[in-house]
Every structure is written in C-alpha cells, then in structure tokens.
C-alpha cells in the first residue's frame, strides 16, 4: 500500500542522509522524497511516498522516529489529507493539430502551458499522483514526450491537525 510520511527534522548537515541511509539500510522503499526548510529555518520538512504493508510502515515510522534529528513523523495516509505534486513536461508540438490538442488536454486537467519552443510546449501540471499519471497518459496518445520532471509528492493534513515542533 502506498503511504505518505511527513517528517519534521532538524535542518542540519547530514540529517537528510540519515533518512535516506535508513531507508536503504533496512530495504524500505522510497517512491518519492522531497525536502525543504520550513518557515522556521532551523527545521526541514520531508515528505516520503513509500510502499509497504502495515507491519513495514509501522517499522518505518518507528525507525525514522528513532533518528536523533527527527522531531515528528506522521503517516498522512492514515487520515484525511491533501497531497500535491508538480509535473513539468516538455512535449512535441509540431503542428497546429498537436498544439491545440496539447492545449486542450492541459486545460481539461487545469494545467498551464508555461513555455514554448519552435517545436515544443512545456506544460506545468499540479495534482496528486493519479491525476499526473492520467495526464501523462492522455498526452502520450496525442504526441511524443520529450522530457518530464516530477517534484515528488508533498502533503498536509486536512482541517486543524498540524505537524509542528
């Protein structure tokens, strides 16, 4: 099962490598990982999308919690939450038909064309994992994908629930 873990940790040299090292050392899976400082720049927030059954995820959460740098860990997928990912994708847009089709699909998915080249469109799309996958599939049917990059998932709990130091 896919899980989204949010981790609040000290923004110090080496703290990210401890997280990454832990996952490889104990053969836990990482589907995506994002990290950046929070509004309090002494803290970083990591979002990890991982796969595992309940037993594995319980171990992951405990092991992450055990790292001295880590203040809080939560499994966002346990409760209502919002998750988003950004996709930047460059596709071939050689002729009028492809260009308008790419634009149309982008509009349907509520993304935007953010740059154009002589023969390419660059599109920005925001959404959860499922939506981005669906969008990529839709594009594939119309044109050729030149390059794509995904930010990895970030997430936050719905309502008043908050992950704070």
């Amino acid at each position: 099962m896919r899980r989204i873990l949010s981790i609040l940790l000290e923004n110090e040299p080496g703290s990210l490598s401890r997280i990454v090292g832990l996952f490889s050392q104990r053969s836990f899976n990482i589907e995506s990982l994002t990290v950046a400082p929070t509004e309090d720049d002494s803290l970083s927030r990591i979002t990890i999308a991982t796969l595992g059954d309940d037993k594995v995820v319980e171990q992951i959460v405990k092991q992450v919690n055990k790292l001295v740098d880590v203040l809080k860990v939560t499994d966002l997928t346990e409760r209502a939450h919002v998750e988003r990912e950004i996709l930047l994708i460059k596709v071939l847009a050689m002729n009028e038909k492809t260009r308008s089709e790419v634009k149309r699909i982008t509009d349907i998915f509520r993304g935007s064309v953010i740059d154009i080249g002589k023969q390419v469109y660059t599109v920005q799309m925001t959404g959860d994992d499922d939506k981005l996958n669906a969008f990529i599939e839709a594009l594939k049917n119309e044109t050729e994908i030149i390059e794509s990059v995904r930010s990895g998932t970030v997430g936050i709990a719905r309502g008043d629930k908050a992950l704070r130091a």
Binding site: G14, S17, R18, K62, K66, V68, V70
Partner: protein, 575 residues
C-alpha cells in the same frame, strides 16, 4: 577579570575531564596530534595506547560492559577512523554506550581527497546512534557533552564525534563552557512504561498458566538485575536469558533454566515453546533466539518490554508492548503486583514446573569426557569456573568457545559476561578483557578464545605489557575454526573449506616474546592444576594454550528453519 582561553584540543580534554572520564583508549596520528599534546599536559584523563584502533574500540567497549561507564576512543582521521568501524558496529549491535572521537583533515581540505581523509561520519552512519562533526571551536565541549548524553540514554549506543584539525590547533582559542545538563529538542526517550500497558501486562501475567520470563541485555544495561530477581521470585516463574542477558539473574538461581536460542538449553527452548505467556524484558527476539519466526510460539501471548520501540513487533508481534527502561518498568510491574495483592497460584505453578523439570532432567547441556585424556572444550570451561571460583570477568571471543563459556560458566552477577553477541566480532575478546582489567585491576579478567579469534587482535599483547594488564588468556585451541567446521560437518557434507588453521604459531613462545608467560595444557589430568598455577600469577599475563578435542561440536543446537524447541541434543540425536 579576563576569561581564560583554550584551544580546541584543550577543550576536548577539558570536556572529557568535566564528564568524569578516567580513560581514553586510542592511537595518535596527524590530525589528532594537538589532542595528544593536550593529553600530555594534564593528568586528569589517562590515555591508553593500543596497537590497532579496532582494539581501542573493543577495549573501551569491554571497559563499559564491566563498569557501565561510557567508553571513550580517540583515533586519527582516515585509516585510524576506519579501523574503528568494526568496534563501533560491535557496540551498536549490543547497545553499548561509546563515544568515538575521530580526527579529520582541516575543514579547508574536506572533500579534496586530502591525505588521510575519509568521511568517517558517512562510513559509520548506519552503525551509530548519532554523529557530529564539529565546525566551530566554541561548540566542542557541548558537542562532546551531547555525545555522552546520547550514548548513555534511552537505548545506549555509540556516537561518533568528528574533529577537523583546524578546530584543534593551538593558534585558535576561545572561552571554555560546557553544559552537562543536556537537552535535545528532537530527542526524549521514553523511560516509564505507560500505566495502562502495565496494568494489561500484569493482568496477563497473573492469569498465565505457563509463564516464562525471557530477559536480555536490556537488564544488564539498565542495571536491573536485582529488580529482575525480585520479579522472578515474586512470580516464581522460570526465567531464561539471551546470550547478551546472561548474569541478569544468577546462573545458579533455581528459577534459571539456562540460555535460550540456537545453543540454548532444551528446557529454556521447550519452556518458550510451551508457554502461554512470554514476558520479554530487554530482549529483541533476535534470529539466533527465535529460529524460524513463522513457527515461533504461535500460541503464546507476548508481553514485550523494551526501551526501543523499534525492537517491539519488529520480528515477532507483541500483543502487549511496553516501552520503557527495564529497571523502571520492572519496578512498575512489581508495584502493580503489590497493588492487586498478587499471590502465586501454587497449584498452577507446580504443574508448570513439573513440566519444566521434565525437560531439565534431560540434562541437554552436557558432554562426555574422553578416556584418553584429550581435553573436551567444555571441560576446560568447567575447570576455569572452578579455578576462578565463578567470579572472573569472562570476556569471550566468537566461536565454539564462546558458546561453551556461555553454557558452562554460570554467571552469578551481571557484567561478568562480556561478549560480542549481536555482531559476532572475532578479535573482540582480548581487548575487551583488557578493558575490564583496566576497570578492575585486582579482578580476574579472562579472555576465553580460540586459535582463530585470538589471532585477530594478538598485537594487543604488547599493550598488555606496557600497562601491566595481567589478563588471563584461555585459548581453547582446536587447530581449526571450530564453529565454521561444525557447520561444515553438519550442513556442508564435512567439506572443511578453509576452516583448518595451518601454520599456527607456538602460542607459548609468542606470549614469551611479548614478555608474558605462556603455558600449554594438553592432558585432562593436568587441566585444573595448571590453570590454578596460571591464575596464581596475579601480576602476569598468562597465555594458556589448551589443546582441545577438535572434533567436538556445540550442543544442544536448534535445527535450522525449525521451531524454537526443535533441537539436536547431540550428534545425530534430536530432542
């Protein structure tokens, strides 16, 4: 008034003194010469010079296991630091508090592949509790204080502190300030068991028909032996210890049913398999205990007390988890038992004990002596027990001799038994015994070893001479790597691939060349007398080379992939 200023090297030593460190185990080199210069100019902290950095870590480790005080290692950058890796891993696996101060090249050179540069923080990352790299002179004392606090709280473990050369040089000075009352906002280990879980645990324990207590190294590190004994006596339950937990209750206690696991006693493993409630205290259901986890005690309710939440339900699901320090939680359990007015159900106990005594009567931990005087390794350990009155610090290497020592030397007290249980590090025994000897100069510190293990840190005989450490080395010499050979006999069709030690040195002469006494014992009739003679040499290191039967296997032994109680009792005989 002017504030006194210190350079980084002086701060390191001052910090150690402030933390009441008596000994540093180490080896000098380029990046730490400033620290060595600072050590030279004070007399609060004594430095012990080893012959290889790995031995420094094991020596610090042995010192810690014998005393409970945090061991300190000092090594230079590069090879000095990487030589510590095995010792750090050994301490990590057995949850031993240790602080390793590792030199590093100057910050201006880090990343340039400078001379003797390795990323020791990176190298050691998977085998430390935490690590630091000092990047300012002023922070050195507090970083060291934090390292000690982390190493010795919660689940203990090794902490590495990297000290770049430019933090240590005499030219840069700052005022010294150390905060020994350490607070770390991201770290607050649980000490006390949750009251609800304590109630649940006690409720389960008192309703058990067949309760067994299974305790491990957590009892030793929490100094919880007395409380454990009290709990055992209150419940009058059978208790088994892990390899790491031996001495947690006296090996002579009537409720003690021996070690469990791979080479545990039949009664211990049978009791586990037949228990309806298992109370695990500071033990982690290691694979050398459980055997096949799929077949492990499927009908038992498991109450698992551990200070480390990751140990709970990692391999075996715990029905009632209790997170907390062993001593604190046992006290809570005792208080709750008193609160509910617990009285042991004698009838229930008698029935259970009758079953346990049945298994005990098989006398699974036993051996047959040879008629021709060829010494059995078990016999040597029994003689050692007799000669040392059961009071020695037994520091073991890794292999058959380790298991024989665990089986045939009942430990009356905690911290008497010092071995590399988790990592299984050959070469651990001698430096560990040296560490115990440093801590207790008047005690018998014994290294029980074999002809394989002893050669992995034999160079430390030189350190022993320098510091006058009268360690007794009891080598069960079977001219082969016994445990490897045993597995080859049992599993690999008797093909002894690389397990035969050709060209062994003359250990007696070797000991003599290092300035020590060496003796060889090769007949059972002279075993006790010669051992007694060796131990009578109070001020000398004696290398006792005991030629033992090379065909002997360690029994009992769990059958691979079987349940916890599926065992070979002796060659070709199943329980």
């Amino acid at each position: 008034m002017t504030t006194e200023l210190f350079n980084g090297a002086e701060m390191v030593v001052k910090a150690l003194a402030a933390l009441k460190v008596k000994y540093i185990f180490g080896y000098p080199g380029g990046s730490v010469l400033d620290i060595y210069d600072a050590i030279f100019q004070q007399d609060e902290v004594e430095h012990i010079l080893v012959r290889h950095e790995q031995a420094a870590t094991h020596m610090a480790d042995g010192y810690t296991r014998a005393t409970g005080e945090v061991g300190v290692v000092l090594a230079t950058s590069g090879p000095g630091a990487t030589n510590c890796v095995t010792g750090i891993a050994t301490a990590y696996m057995d949850s031993i508090p240790m602080v390793v101060l590792a030199g590093q090249v100057a910050t201006t050179l880090i990343g340039d592949d400078a001379f003797q540069e390795t990323d020791i923080v990176g190298c050691s990352r998977p085998i430390v509790k935490h690590s630091f790299s000092c990047r300012s002179l002023e922070e050195i004392p507090n970083v060291i204080a934090k390292a000690f606090y982390l190493a010795n709280s919660g689940r203990p473990g090794p902490v590495v502190v990297e000290l770049p050369k430019d933090m240590l040089i005499p030219q840069n000075k700052a005022p010294f300030h150390i905060e020994t009352n350490v607070q770390i906002r991201s770290y607050s280990p649980t000490v006390k068991g949750h009251p609800k879980q304590i109630k649940k645990a006690v409720n389960t324990i008192v309703n058990a028909q067949r309760l067994v207590i299974y305790s491990g190294g957590g009892i030793i590190s929490a100094n919880a032996s007395e409380l454990l004994t009290q709990l055992v006596e209150t419940l009058d339950a059978p208790i088994t210890n892990t390899l790491m937990g031996l001495g947690g209750i006296s090996g002579l206690h009537k409720n003690f049913i021996g070690m469990l696991g791979m080479h545990g006693s039949l009664e211990a493993n049978k009791a586990m398999a037949n228990a309806d409630v298992i109370l695990a205290l500071g033990a982690r259901f290691d694979d050398r205990v459980t055997n096949n986890v799929e077949k492990f005690c499927p009908n038992a309710t498991i109450v698992h007390v551990d200070v480390d939440p990751t140990s709970i339900s990692k391999t075996i699901n715990a029905h009632i988890p209790v997170v907390g320090l062993a001593d604190v939680v046992i006290q809570q359990l005792l208080d709750e038992l008193t609160a509910i007015g617990f009285k042991a159900d004698q009838e229930r106990l008698a029935k259970w004990w009758q079953q346990v005594e049945g298994w005990r009567s098989v006398n699974s931990v036993s051996y047959e002596k040879n008629d021709n005087g060829l010494i059995k390794p078990q016999q040597a350990v029994e003689a050692l027990y007799k000669v040392t009155n059961g009071e020695a610090y037994i520091c073991s290497d890794v292999g058959q001799h380790q298991m024989f020592a665990a089986q045939y030397y009942p430990f009356a007290k905690p911290r008497q038994w010092i071995n590399s249980g988790g990592l299984g590090t050959m070469g651990f025994g001698l430096p560990a015994a040296m560490g115990a000897q440093v801590a207790f100069p008047d005690a018998h510190a014994v290294c029980v070893t074999g002809d394989g293990s002893i050669q992995m840190n034999i160079q430390e005989l030189s350190t022993c001479l320098q510091y006058g450490l009268p360690v007794k080395i009891v080598s069960l010499n079977n001219r082969s790597l016994g445990m490897v050979r045993q597995w080859q006999d049992m599993i690999y069709g008797g093909r002894h691939s690389s397990s035969y030690m050709e060209s062994l040195p003359d250990f007696v002469k070797l000991a003599e060349s290092y300035g020590h006494v060496g003796i060889q014992i090769n007949h059972a009739d002279e075993l006790e007398d010669k051992l007694a003679e060796a131990f009578a040499l109070k001020d000398r290191l004696v290398f006792i080379d005991i030629l033992v039967d090379e065909k002997e296997h360690v029994y009992p032994m769990q059958i691979r992939h079987g349940a916890v109680d599926e065992m070979w009792i002796k060659k070709g005989e199943k329980a």
